[in-house]
Symmetry: C2
Subunit: 280 residues, 2 copies
């Protein structure tokens, strides 16, 4: 799998790079960001994966989160993929900001016309992780995952469906229970078919947590109290589901913060430090 | 002068706001950003003004610099205006990214068709500063100024032309000597007329420093060594001019950094701390 370096900018002593490659899983070229802190010149480092939310490309996190400062401080690599296939021009893929392009929901679609390309789950697990391990100087297996909104939920389901793969998981304002909110219902219906066909629970963190079977797992959920999309997010559903399972949940409310990167930037340092502790 | 709050987002414990108002100097509505750190709830605070570079609106600095973190840490307000009048549709104002809209150069134009509206110097000094002093809970007179590229030069000329008005001045990758570089020659010719008419030296920091007459002044110049626009910037010309004047210059080269906000974000904390020391 050949990588092309699209851009590189020195920042906080290290390098923020963007790479592109042809994705077999998605059937199109894909871009992703990698921040290499200065420590990466001397030794193998752990990796934190970041999954972005609806409408985002790889650029939003890179430009707005300020995460590089903390990755430089702690000595971790951060890898952040795009949020969907692009450039395929599948009819209906660009009609709405909350479905199709920019809205892959980190699942494998099973319905036409999406099932051939909308395979973000397999893309992350089976293509991006091996590609990172093979091409960069990383501590293989020392990886954590975090994300925002749709990507916060993506981080949760990737951790829940792959016990032990990630050392820790955290989410900013995740869509905790997509089966019951408008964003999730719309996307799941189109990607997976009607709810009564039984596939939705395989891609919903609040359902997955009930059957989690693996090493002890803690979900760090971060949530702004003034989030304009709170009715889509339902963090209490996830916390309640965790009570009846072996999974711990930490829910941190942040007074007056909304859903934006202004909020993410404020607390990304705490999350990087949290993952760093689990990675060392 | 009525202010309209366009947006407000909580970040780093304070609020990043954007305001709009009708500008008398420019003859159009203008927007500017204000970051209020948490300390602003309790007491009057000093202000740092930030002037942005070519093509920027008020948004670039707000979204990409990460300055809010440091403003919150030190307890300073940061105000950042737009870079030119907008929406006037003056013929030729949008033909190039380095002239007209997004490229006001912080001067008062004297040539048609620019002289009526392209008055960013008077806008900042005679309209924005009083407006900030009147509307927000600031320590009047406790103000510093910094900027990037065209705005780094803007910060330098505003400080040099108004001795004592700003407690300190710093610039990231400023266009130090616009009279001798392509960006400056193009803009000055159109805004001010041919060089031999004698106006250029009033708006060129390297010329102004030679005749500076005021309280002791130090220019903090920050420059990436891999800046792709270094041939437009000429920091050595400014440093050389300072040697024959009463103005001190500190020129800090940053190894491998380019002209981008990745570079600005890395060192903005140092600059905020520098101004904070001069403001207290």
């Amino acid at each position: 799998m050949a990588l092309t370096e699209v851009s590189g900018n020195k920042t906080f002593g290290g390098w923020q790079k963007v790479f592109s490659h042809e994705s077999n899983q998605l059937g199109c070229p894909m871009k992703f960001g990698v921040y290499f802190p200065p420590q990466a010149e001397d030794r193998k480092l752990p990796v934190i994966y970041w999954l972005s939310g609806l409408t985002c490309s790889e650029a939003n996190f890179i430009e707005k989160s300020g995460a590089q400062r903390y990755a430089s401080q702690y000595g971790v690599i951060i890898v952040n993929p795009d949020t969907s296939p692009r450039g395929l021009n599948i009819p209906g893929d660009s009609d709405a900001w909350d479905f199709g392009v920019g809205a892959g929901f980190y699942l494998n679609a099973t319905r036409d016309p999406w099932k051939t390309n909308y395979r973000m789950y397999d893309y992350i697990i089976s293509e991006l992780l091996p590609l990172v391990n093979q091409n960069f100087n990383v501590l293989e297996g020392q990886q954590s995952i975090m994300g925002h909104s749709m990507g916060g939920h993506g981080a949760l389901i990737l951790a829940l469906k792959n016990p032990g793969l990630f050392k820790s998981v955290s989410a900013f304002a995740p869509i905790c229970n997509p089966s019951v909110c408008p964003w999730g219902i719309k996307a799941f219906t189109k990607y997976l078919g009607p709810q009564d066909e039984g596939q939705w629970s395989q891609w919903d963190a609040t359902e997955l947590v009930k059957t989690y079977n693996g090493p002890p797992l803690e979900l760090l959920i971060d949530q702004g109290s003034s989030d304009q999309f709170l009715s889509q997010l339902n963090p209490e559903n996830l916390v309640e589901a965790c009570k009846s399972s072996g999974v711990a949940a930490i829910l941190k409310y942040r007074d007056s913060y909304n859903h934006s990167y202004y909020y993410v930037a404020t607390f990304i340092g705490e999350h990087v430090e949290y993952h760093f502790r689990h990675l060392n």
